[in-house]
């Protein structure tokens, strides 16, 4: 059934997660209309090393968001009656600019804040950082990647000298003897990536650490590996115990530790306190299982004759107030095994958002300028200011990280205006009631989006912008590979690119510098700004990415060649010779377990864990608008162990009330033995009264600013006796009760 793709087929990548599966988009009119409605684009899987032509249900149905009847196509402003009403672009931009000038005059430039997103293209992420620092002059910019990759980034920068999610091609996993996945459910969050685990599973080497027996943990069944099921919030203890076993049983790569690392002694001492029997008491994983996992990893490591091993972290272990410490411990584990910087082995963080990698490199973070430069480094300021054509002294300093920024909105001395781009923070930020109150306290909330997200609905001004198949740009995938996003169709009339929006506002604000609206030109500027930085894109251009076959898409760093030299080929694998630290060695950082900020107590005797389902992406603003995805899960649910359900007197589908000290929600129960009896799980993709982030804590990691989404104490009670949730009937993905194929719902 191979279908030749016509000349008008556009090679691009999926709009959703960081795997960035390759797709071909064929605009309607080329293929026959199949009669199911106005679809403008056909989606095809396209061969690429990461997805091998595969897509998950989200990718296959991605074109539906282009056609959503709720698509925003006109600027909206809130009228005196509180309703959002249509207006012209000029009127909307004049209004925004006027308010900005007034607020800035009254309270200074930091009174305007910016919240970006990890789904924005590199060009937009870059331009947004520049817009904040140059046009607005504010220090207060941060982005939703703070909720995503910040702990992994902080730890990798500290220990390895640079943060590239996977410092090796994803395809390297295939040949390894062991892969340790910590807090990642990639079978649901990026299904096509699972294919790369088939080799390691055949060899029995997949080790999954997750409090739930997730779809990913299930991949370890039948002798394919091990599943360790710790108490929520104790992943760090698992890691400390694994390192303890490796050190005490002399299973480490001593030569590697000697030549390529520093700081081992402190780590050794810290881990001396975490013998497996003690760790068992805290993390609930049997001591023998900890030893077995450590020995399995050791046997796979190159120094012991194995084919290689990988240690990979995900949000499950990172979204914690000790997320940075946990990732540091994971890196320590990889280092004692001698993995980073060896072909066929390594440590990596599995990036989540579509451009979660690029989004954290180009200056959206409160403390960074493009190219991963630190904003308080004078040399970095001078370089970037030069590219921007401004005085280095005019650049603001460090701003507040996301949770702190949101917490300060509308407070005395805090920002009075906020721009939101590529984020639905009303749903995705922790302690949701509090966030809503802070947004309410703003004088001006401007949201750029393509659908009326929960955050957009709170805005004073909503600006309709382009999405995915309507725009050109680049995305940097979880591998650190720079991929081209290409335009397949024209956006609806009335929709503008954010690059255009910022250029317009910059002009109205009288900003210095050049404000290109052509993504190719913006990329060229980004490349110059990144030159010499840790994430160096200076040897890359749209033309180069378009010239080469996609299979040769470039891994950064890819510096511009010196005159007379040939083009840099890009860097698929980092650290082969040295680590980009001052000493050239990887730094082992000793860490210790602190435990959850909001731990169990008699009034809240269970753990709440939040996460994702296959059919939805992030806050669900896109995927809830795609019928087959929405009908698979119409709302959140709480996974309860049968023993817990029995104690509460709750049956499948019955509503349960979950309450923390921050809020309460009522959701239907899903009874399953895949979860610990002391833990409930709820996915977070919904807004309003279905938003589980009303319950989560905004306690943050002191180093990364990451909120502790993954664990808090909750009380669970039966909400009522007679209200089976309609949306659960017939929608179980494992097919155990009356499900139907969501794809056929519309048929």
């Amino acid at each position: 059934m191979t279908r030749p793709v016509g000349a008008t087929s556009v090679p691009t990548h999926c709009p959703y997660c960081a795997l960035q599966c390759a797709q071909s988009l064929r605009p309607a009119g080329v293929a026959a209309d199949n009669g199911t409605g106005p679809t403008t684009v056909e989606v095809h899987g396209r061969d690429f090393p990461t997805n091998r032509g595969g897509l998950c249900q989200k990718g296959w149905t991605s074109a539906a968001v282009l056609e959503s009847p709720e698509r925003l196509t006109t600027p909206l402003v809130r009228d005196p009656g509180g309703r959002l009403v249509e207006t012209s672009w000029d009127a909307a931009l004049d209004l925004v600019a006027g308010q900005l000038l007034r607020i800035r005059a009254e309270d200074g430039p930091d009174a305007v804040a910016v919240f970006g997103g990890g789904g924005l293209t590199n060009e937009k992420a870059y331009q947004l950082g520049k817009f904040a620092r140059v046009a607005l002059g504010t220090a207060n910019i941060d982005y939703n990647g703070r909720f995503c990759m910040s702990s992994a980034a902080a730890a990798a920068n500290r220990s390895l000298g640079v943060d590239r999610g996977l410092p090796f091609p994803l395809t390297d996993l295939a040949a390894a003897d062991a892969v340790l996945l910590l807090g990642s459910n990639l079978a649901e969050t990026m299904p096509p990536s699972v294919a790369h685990l088939s080799g390691v599973r055949e060899r029995g080497g997949l080790v999954v650490v997750d409090p739930r027996r997730s779809a990913t943990a299930d991949l370890t069944e039948d002798g394919r590996g091990l599943h360790l099921q710790p108490v929520p919030g104790t992943d760090l203890v698992v890691l400390l115990a694994l390192v303890h076993v490796l050190l005490t049983e002399h299973l480490v790569d001593a030569a590697y530790l000697d030549e390529r690392t520093e700081g081992l002694e402190e780590v050794r001492r810290r881990c001396a306190l975490w013998w497996p029997e003690r760790a068992e008491q805290v993390c609930g994983v049997p001591a023998d299982d900890l030893r077995a996992a450590a020995r399995l990893l050791a046997a796979a490591s190159p120094s012991r004759g194995g084919r290689g091993a990988f240690v990979l972290t995900g949000r499950g272990v990172e979204q914690s107030r000790q997320g940075t410490a946990t990732v540091s411990a994971a890196i320590n584990l990889a280092l004692v095994l001698g993995l980073p910087g060896r072909v066929g082995s390594g440590y990596g963080a599995i990036t989540g958002q579509g451009n979660g990698q690029g989004g954290r490199e180009h200056g959206q973070k409160s403390d960074q300028l493009p190219g991963y430069r630190m904003i308080d480094d004078p040399a970095a300021r001078e370089h970037v200011a030069g590219v921007w054509g401004v005085d280095p002294a005019s650049l603001p300093g460090r701003g507040r990280p996301a949770v702190e920024l949101l917490d300060s909105l509308g407070t005395e001395g805090g920002p009075r205006a906020l721009f939101v781009h590529g984020s639905n923070l009303r749903v995705s930020a922790p302690n949701g009631h509090h966030v809503a109150a802070r947004l309410d306290a703003l004088d001006l909330l401007v949201v750029c989006d393509f659908v009326p997200s929960e955050t957009a609905l709170l805005a004073d001004v909503v600006l309709p912008v382009t999405q995915w198949a309507e725009e050109e740009g680049t995305m940097t995938s979880l591998e650190g590979r720079i991929l081209r996003r290409r335009k397949a169709i024209d956006p609806p009339a009335g929709v503008r690119s954010e690059l255009w929006v910022w250029a317009q506002l910059a002009a109205r604000l009288g900003a210095q510098g050049v404000w290109d609206t052509d993504p190719g030109l913006v990329f060229d500027e980004l490349a110059r700004a990144s030159r010499g930085g840790r994430a160096d894109y200076s040897g890359v251009s749209h033309a180069r990415l378009d010239r080469e076959d996609d299979s040769a898409a470039v891994w950064w760093p890819c510096p511009a060649p010196a005159p007379g030299e040939s083009e840099h080929p890009g860097t698929p694998r980092l650290f082969l010779d040295r680590f980009p630290t001052p000493s050239g060695r990887a730094r082992m950082v000793a860490t210790d377990h602190l435990g959850p900020a909001d731990d169990l107590r008699p009034e809240a005797p269970l753990y709440l864990v939040t996460g994702r389902v296959l059919q939805h992406y992030q806050s669900g603003a896109q995927t809830r608008r795609v019928d087959p995805l929405a009908s698979a899960f119409r709302g959140p649910y709480a996974e309860l162990h049968p023993l817990l359900a029995a104690r509460l007197g709750v049956v499948e589908g019955q509503r349960v009330r979950l309450a923390t000290s921050r809020g309460a929600v009522s959701v239907p129960a899903r009874v399953t033995d895949t979860i610990r009896p002391d833990t409930v799980f709820v996915p977070f993709h919904w807004g309003g009264t279905d938003s589980i982030n009303r319950l989560t804590t905004d306690a943050t990691d002191p180093l990364s600013g990451m909120p502790e989404f993954k664990v808090c104490a909750v009380d669970v009670t039966a909400a009522s006796r007679h209200s089976p949730a309609p949306h659960l009937v017939g929608s179980r993905p494992d097919g155990s009760s009356a499900p139907r194929n969501p794809l056929e719902v519309k048929a």
């Binding site: 793709v5 032509g53 998950c56 299904p191 096509p192 994983v285 104690r647 002391d678 993905p733 499900p739």
Partner: protein, 527 residues
């Protein structure tokens, strides 16, 4: 600056130094720690692992904070405490002044008053306690020549030492006067199960029998005479007969001393509010457990109290009545977990001889001696208040979690006796053909078995054609085998059943795209 002096640089003393320096963000204290051992602090709990040959000494060293506010005096004893003048005198003649003093002097091995155990210099050749790193070294050295060893006392340490020696190939006999091994933790039923596991490890036991004399010839140990007249020959005797809190310094200084240094809930001495004690040397109101977890918990509390802003006031008034919160969720102090190869013993709370006749308590057992398994749980007020686990595997880890975090127990506590987390086999042996129609075959695309069967009925004959019609297999590819099996099962017609001709298996366009928005094939599929 307040001078804080800590006597004792063991597991609790060293931890307290760390805790107080990190809690003291205001930089209020200058800390001096006095440790009698010449080495850096080490993990005493793992000494039995050294005896077992599983660890070397280098793996035991504990963290020492690197702080300009810390002075470490190593290899010297505190010999006298002058509470009037507020100074500590050390063996090398130094005087260390303090404003506040913390005693973390630990405990010493108890040496029973048996004939033959001691000679003029100390312990008879061949007799060893197991308390310090030097003891462990000597025992390891002794195993090079000793063929037979006796461990006197079958508490936690004795059990671990016995297993460790057995692991080194020494023939071991455990002698224990009480009716049950680890009688504080185990009742007789549980002990019998452990005894049989020990026999399986080649360890002999004499339970319920005491020793009366250590037999010595030419200055060396030759065996142990038991109270029933039996002589157990041995070249090595390890004393694991308990510990005695090291209180001499405190007692000489006139501090209240009972079994340990008496302290209140705030860990201060009632005699002198400037002096606190923690760890094995202390006797808090709830009693000392002898477990390091209790000492660490005390360390955390005392550090928090000494560094709390409110302290200065109470300290000045001398009332020192501010009782710090005990961590309400932490029950971890009395969990006992044996570290011994081949012996899986975990106890907590109400167990063994620590049982009370509380009518509110409900006790449930699972007794499975043939498998070496014995599980007992004690439940009260909807919470787990005690458990005894022998050979219980992962159940023990689950019970520890339930106990330490005080999570509610199931409505029928009998469920506590087996694992709630053991995966149920989910039709691993069953064929996809046996699954119900509504079972999901392709997770990535939410495709049910019925949808695939229907696609095959509509003419799909290959995986690619099923993929084109349903998108099954186009995500992670993990369901390819199941789809192949369905193709084989469905396309093989039952006798007499009409079917489409295989030659027409290529689906018509409207079949492929029925009910769908888009074309579904991966371009590379089938190429």
């Amino acid at each position: 600056m307040t001078r804080l002096v800590v006597i004792g640089n063991g597991m609790v003393g060293a931890r307290f130094v760390e805790d107080v320096l990190s809690a003291d963000t205001a930089g209020r204290y200058d800390v001096t720690v006095i440790g009698s051992e010449g080495c850096e602090p080490y993990n005493r709990v793992l000494l039995s692992e050294v005896v077992a040959g599983k660890h070397d000494f280098s793996a035991l060293t504990l963290p020492t904070p690197d702080s300009p506010r810390l002075t470490v005096l190593r290899g010297t004893h505190a010999v006298r405490l002058d509470r009037e003048d507020r100074h500590v005198e050390t063996a090398d003649g130094a005087r260390v002044r303090y404003d506040r003093l913390v005693l973390a002097t630990g405990s010493d091995a108890r040496v029973p008053g048996l004939t033959g155990l001691r000679n003029r210099e100390g312990l008879t050749s061949g007799v060893h306690a197991l308390r310090t790193i030097d003891d462990a070294r000597e025992i390891v050295a002794a195993t090079l020549n000793a063929r037979r060893a006796v461990v006197l006392g079958a508490g936690v340490l004795g059990m671990e030492a016995a297993c460790g020696l057995a692991r080194r190939g020494v023939a071991v006999t455990v002698v224990h006067p009480a009716a049950a091994l680890m009688e504080r933790q185990l009742d007789e039923d549980a002990s019998r199960v452990v005894e049989s596991a020990m026999t399986g490890l080649g360890i002999d036991q004499r339970v319920g029998r005491g020793a009366v004399e250590a037999l010595v010839a030419h200055g060396r140990l030759t065996g142990l005479l038991l109270d029933d007249g039996e002589v157990v020959p041995a070249e090595l005797l390890v004393l694991a007969t308990g510990t005695v809190p090291s209180t001499a310094l405190a007692a000489d200084a006139g501090l209240a001393v009972d079994r340990g240094v008496v302290v209140g809930d705030d860990l201060s001495s009632p005699t002198d509010h400037r002096v606190a004690a923690l760890g094995d040397c202390a006797q808090p109101p709830e009693g000392g457990s002898g477990l390091v977890a209790q000492g660490w918990e005390q360390s955390r509390r005392l550090a928090a109290r000494l560094c709390s802003p409110a302290l200065s006031a109470t300290f000045a008034s001398g009332s020192a009545k501010a009782v710090p919160d005990r961590d309400p969720t932490s029950n971890v102090s009395d969990v006992v977990r044996l570290k011994a190869h081949g012996l899986d013993v975990v106890t907590m709370g109400v167990c063994g001889s620590q049982r009370t006749d509380d009518p509110a308590q409900r006790t449930l057992h699972l007794s499975d001696p043939d498998l070496g398994r014995h599980v007992e749980v004690v439940v009260s007020g909807g919470l787990l208040v005690g458990a005894t686990c022998v050979g219980a595997g992962p159940v023990a880890a689950e019970l520890v979690t339930t106990y330490t975090r005080r999570t509610p127990v199931p409505s029928d506590p009998a469920h506590l006796l087996i694992s709630a987390l053991t995966p149920q086999p989910r039709g691993a042996t069953g064929s996809v053909a046996d699954l119900p129609d509504d079972a999901t075959v392709c997770r990535c695309n939410g495709v049910s078995k019925a949808a695939i069967v229907s696609c095959v009925h509509d003419g799909a004959a290959t995986v690619d054609q099923v993929a084109a019609g349903t998108r099954a297999t186009t995500g992670c590819g993990g369901c390819v085998d199941d789809v192949c099996a369905l193709l084989a099962a469905v396309s093989t017609p039952a006798p007499g059943e009409p079917t489409d001709s295989p030659t027409t298996s290529r689906p018509r366009e409207d079949d492929v795209t029925k009910g769908k928005h888009m074309i579904h094939s991966a371009e590379t599929a089938g190429s």
